[in-house]
Symmetry: C2
Subunit: 147 residues, 2 copies
C-alpha cells in the first residue's frame, strides 16, 4: 500500500492533506516499525524545521482514528506508533532496540481459558519483547520484517 491510498482515505474524511501529514505517513510507511514521537520529530525536522510535537501527536491521533496507525504503550511508559497491519492478527515480536515487529502466528484468545463471571472484556495485549537478529549482530541472515 502506498502513501496515496492513505491520502485518499483522509481526503474522503474532509481532512486536509498538509505537508506535515504527508511526511508523517511517508516516514511511517517507509520504516514499517514502531517509532516514538521523538524519532518522528527528528526525522520530520529535516523537511519541516518548525514542526511541533502538537502537530505530530495530533496527526497520530487522527491517523489512529482512521485506523491507519496503531499505537502501543511500551514498557518505558511512552507510546510507539506504526502503520497498522492489514492482517487481522494483532500480536508481535517486538525488538526493543529498533522497534521492528514480526507477527506472531497465533493469538492467545484462542486458548480455552474461562472468563471470570461478570467480567466484561474490552481488549487484550500480547507482545513478545526481545532483540532481533540484526540488532544482536547475529551472522545469520535476518528475517524480513513485515507487518
Amino acid at each position: 500500500m502506498d502513501v496515496d491510498a492513505y491520502l485518499n482515505q483522509l481526503k474522503g474524511q474532509g481532512l486536509k492533506l498538509t505537508g506535515q501529514r504527508r511526511s508523517i505517513l511517508g516516514i511511517l510507511l517507509a520504516e514499517n516499525r514502531y517509532m516514538s514521537a521523538k524519532e518522528l520529530m527528528d526525522r520530520l525536522q529535516e523537511e519541516h524545521p518548525h514542526i511541533s510535537y502538537d502537530t505530530i501527536y495530533r496527526n497520530l491521533k487522527v491517523l489512529r482514528q482512521e485506523r491507519i496507525v496503531e499505537e502501543s504503550m511500551f514498557q518505558d511508559g511512552s507510546s510507539r506508533f506504526r502503520i497498522r497491519c492489514r492482517d487481522p492478527h494483532h500480536h508481535h515480536f517486538i525488538c526493543v532496540q529498533c522497534g521492528r515487529t514480526i507477527p506472531i502466528e497465533s493469538c492467545p484468545m484462542e486458548l480455552p481459558f474461562p472468563v471470570p463471571d461478570g467480567f466484561q472484556v474490552y481488549s487484550h495485549r500480547f507482545d513478545i519483547f526481545g532483540e532481533c537478529a540484526d540488532c544482536r549482530g547475529v551472522t545469520k541472515p535476518a528475517p524480513v520484517s513485515s507487518n
Copy 2:
C-alpha cells in the same frame, strides 16, 4: 503471607524497616491489586502526612528488586504496582476501573508458534483488560466479549 515475612526478607538484605516501608507493604498486601503511585500517596498520607513521591517510588523499586512487588505499564502510560503473585503464571484479567486482577489459567507461550530466526526473547506480556463484575454493578452473568 503476612507483612512480617516480607519485612524479614528485607531485613536480611540490610534494608531498614522504616514506617513508610511498612505502610507501603501493608497497603499493597491489604489491597492485593494493581495500584498507582498516586493511589498509594493518598493512602500513605493518612499515616505519613509528609511522605514524598520519591519515597514511594524508591521503595517500590526496592520491593521490585526484592521480587516482592510487580510493576505493569498500563495503557495510560503510568505504572501500577501490586504484591507479586506467588503462582508461576504472570497473566491477568485486569479491571481498568479498580485495578483488581484475576489470574488467567494459561499462558500464550504454551502456544506452538515459531520464533523468528535469530530473535532473542527477553520477556512477554499478556493482559486482558476490561471491567470486573463489581465495577459493572452486575448481578447477572456478563455478556460475551470478543477480542
